[in-house]
């Protein structure tokens, strides 16, 4: 894989910005004029040292207050891979930001302060990574310089985290790395202070970890985005259903069903501007041409007939609430799922989760900003879906407040 998307999770003052600054700096991804600008601003603010966090804090309010307000995306590349970092702030609207950053990530770095060990926030980060089904987690035990680079301390933290994480069933792979972001130990260059650690440096691990793919290549799913009908003599009969493959593999000749109508046909051609393809798979953007004239439009889904998704108006989901206003009981929202938009009403709140203890909350069912829990929804028209566990694209949705047009919740459908 040429591209790795990862998100970083850490609480305030655990050195997250320093770590990202260090990764960018030591991998020579920072330009001279960027560094000069940061030095200038640090001097102007009266800092004693150059604050590498300024590299990632892009807004004026962030630089002035020394805090991160919103998710920022960072890009860097080494000869092995290109990386996209979703850098999520540690305090304000933490859950909302981490869920946003995690929704497109293949890997999460969870930072732990070696002095503090596994704390409540660590559990929260691990829970959210698990909820969003990030299968690969790097636990970076930072500030090892402040615990004398002690192997025992590292092992203690490793054991505590492993014990907590055993209750999280989606984490496929965990790697523990002892680092000092400030001094650069085991970030890009191997530490000389911790000869007892035989594993990879953080960057080497990020460059080489096999994340396989989060794409689903089994169940073929094609949400129709747009219908291409050229009004030209040359392409008179052309009718292409364009979209991005959300799962599985499509080939010419495949028997397909268009949902929700249920009409069946065969794939005649997979069209792209560069010529027809022999097969199309996730995440390629293509246009499908069908053998038969079938009424199909945006919001429909083309699937292989032998492996249909679920379809219905009753949805069970885990949601994370983002709205400033609490969720209204039996409230009506717009539900956007793949390319389809329907009305939805909250039928029942089943429980909320205390994300620090993983306990279910059943006596307070009002959803406020950053609350996570399980609900059931009833929609005005059928939704064509898979469980989030099977497919991140066909298993996810957002809720929109029809009055304010704000995105108020993110949802993951249960199978």
């Amino acid at each position: 894989m040429d591209l790795l998307r990862f998100t970083t999770a850490g609480s305030v003052d655990d050195g997250k910005s320093t770590l990202i600054g260090r990764l960018l700096y030591d991998s020579k991804s920072i330009f001279e004029d960027q560094l000069e600008a940061v030095e200038r601003f640090s001097r102007k603010r009266g800092d004693q040292h150059v604050d590498l966090a300024l590299l990632t804090d892009g807004l004026r309010a962030e630089r002035e207050q020394g805090i991160t307000i919103d998710v920022a995306y960072r890009y860097f590349a080494t000869p092995r891979r290109k990386f996209i970092i979703a850098d999520t702030p540690g305090h304000i609207q933490y859950t909302r930001n981490m869920v946003t950053g995690a929704s497109t990530a293949n890997l999460a770095i969870i930072l732990i302060d070696a002095r503090k060990g596994v704390i409540e926030q660590t559990c929260r980060h691990a829970f959210l990574a698990n909820l969003l089904r990030i299968q690969h987690v790097v636990v970076a035990v930072n500030k090892m310089d402040l615990v004398d680079f002690a192997e025992e301390r590292f092992e203690e933290i490793k054991e505590a985290f492993t014990s907590f994480a055993s209750r999280l069933d989606n984490l496929v792979e965990m790697t523990f790395i002892p680092i000092s972001a400030l001094q650069g130990d085991n970030v890009v260059d191997k530490s000389t202070q911790m000869p007892w650690y035989q594993g990879p440096t953080l960057l080497y691990h990020l460059e080489t970890v096999y994340v396989g793919t989060t794409e689903n290549h089994v169940e073929a799913r094609f949400p129709v985005q747009w219908v291409i009908r050229p009004h030209s003599d040359q392409w008179h009969d052309f009718r292409g259903f364009s979209g991005r493959v959300a799962g599985g593999v499509f080939k010419p000749g495949d028997a397909v069903t268009v949902l929700p109508s249920g009409f069946q046909s065969k794939i005649k051609e997979i069209h792209t501007a560069d010529g027809p393809l022999e097969e199309a798979y996730s995440p390629l953007s293509v246009s499908l041409l069908l053998e038969d004239e079938i009424d199909t439009s945006r919001g429909d889904m083309i699937v292989k007939s032998n492996n249909p998704p679920q379809m219905g108006q009753d949805i069970e989901a885990m949601i994370c609430w983002f709205g400033e206003k609490p969720m209204s009981p039996r409230g009506r929202y717009v539900l956007r799922h793949t390319t389809r938009e329907v009305q939805a009403v909250i039928k029942e709140v089943r429980y909320k989760v205390n994300i620090n203890t993983l306990h279910k909350i059943e006596d307070d069912l009002e959803f406020h900003m950053n609350d996570i829990g399980r609900i059931s929804l009833r929609t005005s028209a059928p939704v064509i879906y898979d469980s989030y566990a099977k497919n991140r694209i066909t298993g996810s949705f957002i809720l929109i407040d029809a009055g304010s047009n704000e995105t108020v919740a993110a949802g993951m459908i249960r199978g």
Partner: protein, 305 residues
């Protein structure tokens, strides 16, 4: 023996298919979107991707050029040829017209630039044509305020960006709903880096304005930038001698605030090697960004791209 089929998708394929997805979402979610086309490489790549996204049909967007009047002649001739090639409609919104109508006031002094005035012209064109979304070639890697942008960036009815109150954007679900009079900016190239853009231009063999390649040019130095002395739009002062040098442009914008770099890079391969070794960001040549620490953020809050 059976072999496991691998479905490898290259980095450029991933970026291309993501951008096409965003372009199609824009066509589907908005009533009347425009594609901002400046003749710079990012907007060229975006228009190229738009042609692919709707092939074999034409573009469902109007191309909108916000013209400061301070153009390199190469950019204009390139623009007209390219637009004809991809079979698009082009609308030119002129900053000069905004000034003549008293909608915008020209800056004074030899450092005057029309960069800020573009916002007035853009917002007027949006109001006149009733555009509800404008596609821009901005990338998150090019500038720190842009790093905070969404793919679908909501703007209020004054066209303003409110960076502290952005809609969360999850998975590939874009919320383009808005009230009457509000607008969006959409950035299909959000996840592309400067290097990705150049690699894609080489892969696709996309023609570019000759300004991007090394050539002889008469220039003068101001605040560390080499400004053009040939078009006459930037006025050198007496203490700013004119020299002839081997130059190229890393970005192309308004002549008065786009600096050239000394470079022998004459081919795409040369440019890619140069970008890989660069120690300065590409917008380091843009005087419009150097005006203050938050120049881009401030312009976006006023309704800029």
């Amino acid at each position: 023996m059976s072999s496991i089929r691998s479905y490898h998708v290259s980095l450029l394929q991933q970026l291309e298919s993501e951008a096409i997805y965003v372009l199609r979402e824009t066509a589907a979610q908005f009533r009347n979107p425009a594609l901002l086309f400046s003749g710079g490489k990012d907007s060229i790549v975006m228009a190229w991707l738009a042609r692919k996204a709707f092939h074999p049909a034409g573009l469902p967007f109007t191309l909108l050029h916000v013209d400061t009047g301070h153009n390199f002649p190469e950019t204009l001739s390139y623009r007209d040829t390219f637009v004809e090639q991809i079979g698009a409609r082009l609308l030119v919104a002129s900053v000069q017209d905004s000034i003549d109508q008293g909608r915008a006031v020209e800056e004074r002094g030899h450092r005057a630039s029309r960069n800020k005035l573009q916002t007035v012209t853009l917002l007027d064109a949006i109001a006149e044509q009733k555009f509800d979304a404008c596609l821009g070639g901005g990338r998150r890697d090019e500038e720190k305020a842009r790093a905070k942008e969404r793919f679908f960036s909501h703007r209020n009815d004054f066209g303003q960006w409110d960076p502290k109150n952005q809609r969360p954007e999850l998975w590939n679900l874009f919320n383009g709903r808005m009230h009457q009079g509000e607008q969006f900016r959409v950035f299909p190239l959000s996840n592309w880096t400067e290097m990705d853009v150049w690699l894609y231009i080489r892969q696709e063999n996309i023609p570019l304005p000759s300004l991007y390649f090394s050539h002889q040019r008469r220039v003068f130095q101001r605040d560390g930038s080499w400004l053009d002395a040939e078009t006459g739009f930037a006025q050198p002062q007496t203490e700013e001698p004119i020299l002839e040098k081997t130059m190229r442009f890393r970005t192309i914008g308004d002549v008065t605030c786009t600096g050239a770099v000394e470079s022998p890079a004459a081919t795409l391969d040369d440019i890619i090697a140069e970008v890989a070794a660069a120690r300065q960001t590409e917008r380091g040549t843009r005087a419009d960004d150097q005006r203050s620490e938050s120049a881009m953020e401030d312009r976006k809050k006023e309704g800029y791209f």
